[in-house]
Symmetry: C2
Subunit: 346 residues, 2 copies
DNA sequence: CTGAAAGCGCTAACAG
DNA sequence: CTGTTAGCGCTTTCAG
C-alpha cells in the first residue's frame, strides 16, 4: 500500500529532530548551511513531499478554492474555469469544481460539502432553480470568503464579476432591429437570475429606442435553465404558435441559444431558416452552425481570472474587508453569416 | 473571520470530554442514549460539522479523487466528468479536476500536486504531448491507486476504461467508403497516444477490406493534440496540397474534428463543401454544423462512471489487487445530413 | 458508560 | 545552531 515518507523518517535517518528537519527544509535562517544541505539532499533522494493535509490542519487552511457552476459542459463555464485555474495555480491553490446542474438541491449540497472547511473560499455562479438563498447567507454571515461571477446575488455584500449584460443584450437586439426585424421575441433563462433580469432590460431598451412594442407574450422563460429539453421546446413552440409570430428571437442565455436552434430545427425546419436568432454564446463552434447565429460572447476566461484574483485577496486579507467591488466586463457581439449576406444585398 | 465549531466546543458547553462527544456523534454503542441525544441535539443546534481535514490526517485518506484530463472544455471530457461525479458523490468522494492542456509539463505538475496525498486515487487520461511516463510509473510503483480512461498506458498494470476505438474508426471509415469515397485521409492526434494507434488500425482495416490503398501521405498527425491552431491548419493544408487530393477525411480525435472543419473553411471554403468528413465527436451541437459531419460518439458519461467505480474499488480494497480489467465500450456512429441526402439520390 | 492520553504530520514558541 | 514540547481536530486504545 501507499506509504509516503514523513519528516520523521528523515529525522530518524539523519539523527536529527523533526523540527530541525522542518526548518532546514523551509530554509529557516537559524539552520547551518551544512545541515540544510544534508537534509535537503536526503529529502530529494527519498522523494520527500510534505503532507498537505497536515499543513492544512495546522494552518487552518487548505489552499484550495471551491467553484460551483451549473455545468462544466458549457462553453462559458469551461472557459471561465480555465481562467480560474490559471490564477489559482499560480498562487498555489487547488481548484475543486462542482456542478449544480441548475438544481437547487445539488447547489445546496455541494456548497455545504465544500464550505465544510475543506476549502478556503468559494466562487459561485447561481443555479437557475435557486430562489432560496439561506445556504449562501449562512456561509456569508460566518465570514466565509466568496465571490460571485456571472449569476450573482445582489443582496450579498461581496465581490462580484459580471459581464455587461445590458450592453450585450442591447447590442444583439439592436443588431436584429437594424437588419429589419420588427417582431423580436426573447427566450430567457429563469427570471430570478441576475443575468436574466439585466439582459431583459437591455432587450427592452433596444426595442424602445427604435419604437418597437414590448409584448408580454414575446418573453418566454425556462425555469430550469434548459436542463429539461421539453421546457425549451415548449417555449419555442409557444412562440411559433403566436398569432403574430416573431421573425427573430433574442436568446439571453448561453446554453439556450443552442437548445433554441435545436428545438426550432426539430419543430419546424422551415421556420428555423426564416427566424433570425441572436443569442449569448461562448462556443467555439458557433461560426459553423447551420442556421447561422448572431451572438454575444462573454469574456469568460477573463471573468474567471478576475473573480479568482478577488477571491484570493479576500482569503489572504489580514483584516476584514468591507469595501467590495463589482467588476463589469464588456461583451463582444458578432453578426451571423446570413445577416452579413443580406447586408450586402441591401 | 470564519471560525468553525469543533468537538471541543461541544464538549466544553456540555461539560463532557471530547472523546464522549466524538463517540456520541458517531453512534458509538458504549454511549447512553440520553447522552447521545443531548450531544447530537446541541451539535445540530450550533451546526457542527466535523473537520474533514482532521479526519483525513487521522485516517490517512481524504475521500477525494483526482482527475487529470487535457481539457474540460471538450465535450467528451466534460461528459466523462459528469459520469465521474455521479459515482464519486454517491460514494462520498470529492472530485478534484485538473487540466493538462495536452502539455507534458502541466501533466507532471498536476499529477504530482494531486498525488501528493491530498487524494486517494487518480483517474487519468494522458496528455497528447506525454511520451515519458516516469511520473506515472513512480506513482504506480508506490501502489498508488489509479485508473486510466480513454487515453491509456498499456505498460501500466491497472484498470482501464476505453471505447472500442477499432470498431468506431472502422465503422466511420467504412461509412465513407460505402458512400463512394475512395481517397480517404486520416487526421489524427499525437501518434503515441493509445487512441491514435487503435483508431489508425481501424481506419486501415476498413481501407483494406475494400481494397483501397493505404497511403502514407494521407496520414497527418497533430503532436500537440490540436492545442496549436497552426498545426491543424498546416496538416489540413498538407492534405489539400497533395497531388492526389483526398475526397474525404477521417478525423480520429474529438477536438480535431471541429478544428479540421474550421481549418478547411478558412483555407478553402469550396473544398470544405466537397470533402466529406467523418470524425470522433461528442459535441451536442454536431448535428447543427454547416459542412455537416458524420461522427463517432463515445459513451463518455458511462466511461466516466465505470472508471470511477473501478477506482473506488481499488481504493477501498482490503488486500492488494492483482487482477485488472480493461473495459471496452461500444461507440455509436452517425451519418451526416449531406451523406443522408446523397444516399436518397442513389 | 465516560474520561485521559496518545497520535496522525507538521510548525513554532521556548529552551538550551 | 538544534532539540523539546505543545497543539491544529479528531478518533481510539486504555483505564476507570
Amino acid at each position: 500500500m501507499y506509504k509516503p515518507t514523513t519528516i520523521k523518517d528523515i529525522a530518524k535517518a539523519l539523527g536529527l529532530s523533526t523540527s530541525t528537519v522542518s526548518r532546514a527544509l523551509r530554509g529557516g535562517y537559524e539552520i547551518s548551511d551544512e545541515t540544510k544541505r544534508i537534509v535537503s539532499e536526503y529529502a530529494q533522494k527519498i522523494n520527500y513531499k510534505p503532507n498537505p493535509i497536515a499543513l492544512s490542519l495546522k494552518e487552518r487552511r487548505s489552499y484550495s478554492i471551491g467553484v460551483v457552476v451549473c455545468e462544466v459542459a458549457n462553453s462559458f463555464f469551461s472557459q471561465a474555469i480555465n481562467g480560474i485555474e490559471s490564477i489559482a495555480y499560480n498562487k498555489g491553490y487547488h481548484v475543486i469544481i462542482s456542478q449544480s446542474h441548475d438544481s437547487y438541491e445539488r447547489e445546496v449540497t455541494n456548497i455545504q460539502h465544500l464550505a465544510n472547511r475543506s476549502i478556503d473560499g468559494l466562487l459561485i455562479s447561481l443555479s437557475a432553480e435557486t430562489t432560496n438563498y439561506d445556504h449562501i447567507h449562512q456561509l456569508h454571515a460566518n465570514g466565509f470568503p466568496m465571490v460571485f461571477f456571472d449569476r450573482v446575488l445582489d443582496e450579498i455584500q461581496t465581490h462580484k464579476v459580471i459581464s455587461d449584460n445590458f450592453q450585450g443584450s442591447f447590442a444583439a437586439t439592436e443588431l436584429l432591429i437594424k437588419n429589419g426585424f420588427k417582431k423580436i421575441a426573447h427566450l430567457a433563462n429563469a427570471p430570478h437570475l441576475s443575468i436574466t433580469k439585466e439582459r431583459q432590460v437591455g432587450y427592452q431598451a433596444a426595442l424602445q429606442k427604435y419604437g418597437l412594442e414590448v409584448k408580454e407574450e414575446y418573453n418566454q422563460y425556462c425555469f430550469h435553465g434548459g436542463r429539461l429539453k421539453e421546457e425549451v421546446e415548449s417555449a419555442v413552440q409557444t412562440l411559433l404558435n403566436l398569432p403574430d409570430r416573431p421573425d427573430a428571437i433574442f436568446v439571453s442565455s448561453d446554453r439556450l441559444s443552442i437548445s433554441c436552434l435545436t428545438a426550432l430545427m426539430k419543430l419546424n425546419p422551415l421556420a428555423a431558416e426564416q427566424i433570425s436568432i441572436a443569442g449569448f454564446n461562448n462556443s467555439d463552434l458557433v461560426n459553423l452552425l447551420k442556421p447561422s447565429l448572431s451572438y454575444v460572447r462573454q469574456p469568460a476566461f477573463e471573468m474567471g481570472r478576475l473573480a479568482t484574483d478577488l477571491l484570493i485577496q479576500l482569503i489572504e486579507a489580514k483584516r476584514p474587508i468591507t469595501q467590495f467591488e463589482t467588476k463589469i466586463l464588456t461583451n463582444e457581439v458578432f453578426i451571423s453569416d446570413s445577416l452579413k449576406k443580406e447586408a450586402v444585398l441591401l
